[in-house]
Each structure stands twice: as structure tokens, then as C-alpha cells.
């Protein structure tokens, strides 16, 4: 029997939802369901097949999902739930209804503004003088949203542009002098996952053209979301995409770890715990590099959390979609796990994990001795 709604039928088929065996592994793995919220990917799947996407349960499901991909990873039938949710969001937005965004949709507004071809940004002002960059070249360092996050989340005292400066410092140590664009446009990861297909396609085109105009052949990113978008999504929407995409961890592994400068790493006497990012978890070989880097720094006492063996949980929010009680519970749970290991420092690999967890530390754990830092910033300290 085919579904009465042709578009919906296509989405269901495309993402393999008909293959759902109703086994419940997705709900068992879901960080949102773990918080106690009535939230089940398999229930949403059966509701949508039965009643379509106007069902109230499905409508709430679509905007409460974190698209972290944990269910995709566990599903024995290969259902792509995250993609299913994304396509349902696209349908929602295309029908003219407003999405459910956190921070008043400010981040998505910024991305849409950046898709204007006439915009001339001024985002390079953070660059410290001791960093070597070039105006044209084969390799580009993609800063991503860091300068904007730095201003927008000023109240969190994260100094996020320092992360970009630290990444550039590391690249310089790897003998790479990259291009950094003053008018770089966002990768559009969040527009893509928030269901704004047209906005994303426009931004991707502008972003790609801006990069190609500077003779670039390889893009190095320090953000897992930018990496994922460049590697997986850009080739799907841009016919002529021919950039090599590298994560900064790969550059570090190739050019720093095991080389002579590796022995010059300053010892750090710290108990640390590592937080995986959901987008980098798609790349098993890359997601293991940060732990190798941590092991190289002498004096570091690496403490794994109880949950890290079965894959880290999400930081509670993705693509600036929704941020409610369940996001806070997830963040508090993740921080409690870290504190239970006795760590003084939580090392993250995604700027958004840094923002979300720092927000919860400020709100609930300000009395605890727990700091949070990105992997590149920690490595930059050891390289000093």
C-alpha cells in the first residue's frame, strides 16, 4: 500500500523508514528519550506512516530531535532517522510554517545574510600578528562561525576567536601558512539541518565561489560541523566541487605527532576528560586522533567517562534548533559524568559543545572546579 502523500512517501522511502522493525534500539540509544521526555524515533516512524506529518506527536518530534545520529548508528535495518527528521523539517519550512529555533534564530539569520553576494565582511580582525597567513594559496583555514560566536556568546567568557588563533598557530607549526578569508562565508551546516534547503544552497554556492576565487585547493577546518558539511554535503549540492577537505586533527597527526616537535610538547599536570562531537563520530579514524594527541602530552591524566565506551552523548543541542529542559538535562548529565571522573578540564572538539556545556557550567556547576577548553587550545598551550 502506498502512502497517500506523494512527497512524504518519497521521504519515507528515501530514508529507509519502511524498513523499521520496531525493535526500539533507537529509543534506547536516544539522549532525548534518556531525559524522560516521551520521545521515540520508532513511534514517530509508525505515526508518520499511519497518519502523516500533521500528527501533533510527529510535529513535536521533528523539532525536538538533536540529529546527533546515535539512533542511525544503532539501527539494525539502516534507517536514517536524522536525515528523515531533516527532510521533514524541510517540508515544514517549505509549507511556510516557522521553525522552532533557539537564540531567536539569530545564527540562522546571520547565515542567510552571509549568502548575499554583495556582503563585504570584516571577520579577520582577530588575527594575531605573530601568525603567518597568505592572501592567496592552495591551503585555506576555514574559521567558521568563531568570530561571530565570540561576540554573540560574550557572556560565556569563552574567547572563541582564540580557538581560531590557536588552530592557526598549530598549522604554522605544521609548516602550513594558510589563506584566511576576511569575507569567508559560513558553511551553512545549521541551515541545512534546520530545514532551509534554499538558503543552504545559496550560501553553499557563495561560500564555495569565495574560496575558489583565492586559488584554494584544500580546506582545513577545526570545526567538526564545517568538516562534515564540506566533505559530505557540498559535493551533493555543488556540481563542480573539487576541494580537498581536511580536519585539523588529520594535519596534526600527519605533520606533528611522532615528529621531532612532538617531543617538545610541554608537560601539563592535569586530569582531563574528552568530549566527542557527534559530527566527527561519523569518521571513526578521525574521532580517535584527539585521544592520541592527549596521550602524547606528558603529565595529562586522561579519564574516560562511563558513557564514552558506547559513544559519547550529544551536547544537548544542534543546528540552533530548540533548547529546552531536555537539552539542559543532557548537558547536566554529561557534566556530572565528567565531574564523577575527577577531571579538572573537559576537552571538547566542537565549538558548539564548548558553548552549550559552558552555559550549563555557569548556570549549575559554577561552584565546581571544572574548566572547559577546546582540543586545539589545549594543544596550543602544550606547544608554547
Amino acid at each position: 500500500m502506498s502512502h497517500p502523500n506523494k512527497d512524504l512517501e518519497h521521504i519515507i522511502k528515501e530514508t529507509g523508514v519502511y524498513q523499521c522493525l520496531d525493535c526500539g534500539k533507537c529509543t534506547g540509544a536516544c539522549p532525548v528519550a534518556e531525559t524522560g521526555k516521551v520521545f521515540s524515533p520508532r513511534l514517530a516512524a509508525s505515526r508518520i506512516i499511519e497518519k502523516g506529518d500533521s500528527d501533533p506527536y510527529v510535529q513535536e518530534f521533528v523539532w525536538a530531535c538533536l540529529t546527533c545520529g546515535r539512533c542511525d548508528d544503532r539501527c539494525p535495518s539502516g534507517v536514517r532517522f536524522s536525515d528523515f527528521v531533516r527532510l521533514l523539517r524541510c517540508r515544514w519550512i517549505d509549507s511556510g510554517k516557522p521553525g522552532v529555533y533557539s537564540h531567536g534564530g539569530a545564527m540562522l539569520s546571520l547565515m542567510r545574510m552571509m549568502s548575499s553576494p554583495h556582503l563585504r565582511q570584516n571577520r579577520k580582525s582577530f588575527l594575531p600578528s605573530e601568525i603567518n597567513t597568505v592572501s592567496r594559496g592552495k591551503v585555506l583555514y576555514f574559521t567558521g562561525c568563531l568570530p561571530y560566536f565570540d561576540v554573540f556568546f560574550k557572556n560565556l567568557d569563552l574567547n572563541m576567536v582564540q580557538m581560531a588563533a590557536d588552530s592557526l598557530k598549530i598549522l604554522n607549526r605544521c609548516d602550513i601558512e594558510p589563506v584566511v578569508l576576511n569575507n569567508e562565508r559560513c558553511c551553512g551546516h545549521d541551515l541545512f539541518w534546520a530545514g532551509d534547503q534554499r538558503g543552504f544552497a545559496k550560501l553553499a554556492k557563495e561560500s564555495y565561489e569565495e574560496i575558489k576565487d583565492h586559488g584554494v585547493q584544500e580546506v582545513i577546518t577545526s570545526c567538526p560541523e564545517c568538516f562534515y558539511t564540506f566533505k559530505e554535503i557540498f559535493p551533493q549540492v555543488l556540481n563542480n566541487f573539487d576541494l580537498k577537505v581536511t580536519h585539523i586533527y588529520e594535519s596534526i597527526e600527519d605533520r606533528l605527532i611522532g615528529r621531532s616537535c612532538d617531543s617538545k610538547l610541554k608537560p601539563l599536570d592535569l586530569k582531563v576528560s574528552f568530549k566527542d562531537s557527534c559530527r566527527l563520530n561519523f569518521y571513526k579514524d578521525i574521532s580517535q586522533i584527539p585521544r592520541k594527541i592527549l596521550e602524547r602530552i606528558k603529565g595529562l591524566n586522561i579519564r574516560e567517562t562511563s558513557g564514552s565506551q558506547i559513544g559519547d552523548i550529544c551536547c544537548g543541542n544542534s543546528a540552533w534548533v530548540g533548547c529546552g529542559g531536555h537539552s539542559k538535562i543532557i548537558q547536566m548529565k554529561r557534566l556530572r559524568e565528567t565531574l564523577d571522573t575527577g577531571s579538572q578540564l573537559l576537552v571538547t572538539s566542537c565549538p558548539k559543545c564548548l558553548i552549550h556545556l559552558q552555559c550549563t557550567i555557569k548556570d549549575f556547576y559554577s561552584g565546581e572546579k571544572l574548566e572547559i577548553k577546546d582540543m586545539v587550545s589545549l594543544l596550543a598551550v602544550a606547544l608554547d
Partner: protein, 136 residues
């Protein structure tokens, strides 16, 4: 042909709105470029809303509140100025002129001042030109 500019003015319900209705009663000119939105307090207009205005194609945004000691809600204008300072930093990164976003405050009888300031603001934005965001 020169494209007509679009200006958005957020007017607080108290003193500024009374100035605005006074402008009508006194027959003072309201520039055609200005689109007025009445809000309960200038502090309500936070950074995401200001960014949204620019995203949707505003060439200039005017946030109009009460004088600091005259606020019904306590710290409205102070908050509004904070929001605007925050947004200015983001506009700077985007490469948009900070003059495109301004805060003004009035007492309830200052209709003439509001009318003049609106005309001055429109002139200023015309001189800067259309915003690059939705420019064709």
C-alpha cells in the same frame, strides 16, 4: 533609478508612541520610508530581532525608547542600549555600517524632535545607501 530605502522603527508604547500619535495630530511629516512597529518596551528588541530586521532587508533600524529616568519598566532604555551595542559588534563583523542601527529616546511631548530625527535618520541612511543583504 535609485532604489528606495527601507527603514524600520521600533517604538516603545509609552513616551515614543505618544510622540508618534502627536506627530499625526500636529500634522508633522512622517517619512514614507519609515515603517513603524509598536512594542511594549524598547528593551524587547534584542539582538536576534535586530539581526532579523537586517536579514529581511531593512537598510536602517531605529529603536526608540523612553528617557532613562522615565521608563515604566525600570531599566528598559539601559537594556535597549546594551542590546544595540551588542548588535553593533555583530554588524561590524558583517561589514555593515554601525549608523544603520541607532537608539533614540524621547519624552512624551517631543513629537517635533521625533519627526525631525526620523527625517534626519532617513537622510543618513540614504547617504550610506542600500544594505548589501538583499541588494540586487
Amino acid at each position: 533609478m535609485k532604489q528606495k530605502i527601507k527603514v524600520l522603527a521600533f517604538l516603545c508604547n509609552w513616551a515614543p508612541w505618544s510622540c508618534y500619535t502627536g506627530m499625526g495630530e500636529m500634522g508633522l511629516p512622517v517619512p514614507g520610508e519609515v515603517n513603524v512597529i509598536r512594542v511594549m518596551c524598547s528593551a524587547r528588541i534584542n539582538t536576534p530581532l535586530l539581526l532579523k530586521a537586517f536579514e529581511k532587508g531593512a537598510d536602517g533600524v531605529l529603536v526608540v525608547g523612553c528617557r532613562m529616568d522615565n521608563c515604566q519598566n525600570g531599566k528598559g532604555p539601559e537594556m535597549a542600549e546594551k542590546n544595540i551595542a551588542h548588535s553593533h559588534e555583530i554588524l561590524e563583523l558583517l561589514g555593515l555600517e554601525r549608523e544603520r542601527l541607532q537608539f533614540k529616546y524621547y519624552l512624551a511631548h517631543e513629537s517635533e524632535k521625533l519627526s525631525l530625527d526620523m527625517q534626519r535618520f532617513v537622510k543618513q541612511i540614504e547617504d550610506i545607501g542600500k544594505s548589501p543583504i538583499l541588494r540586487k
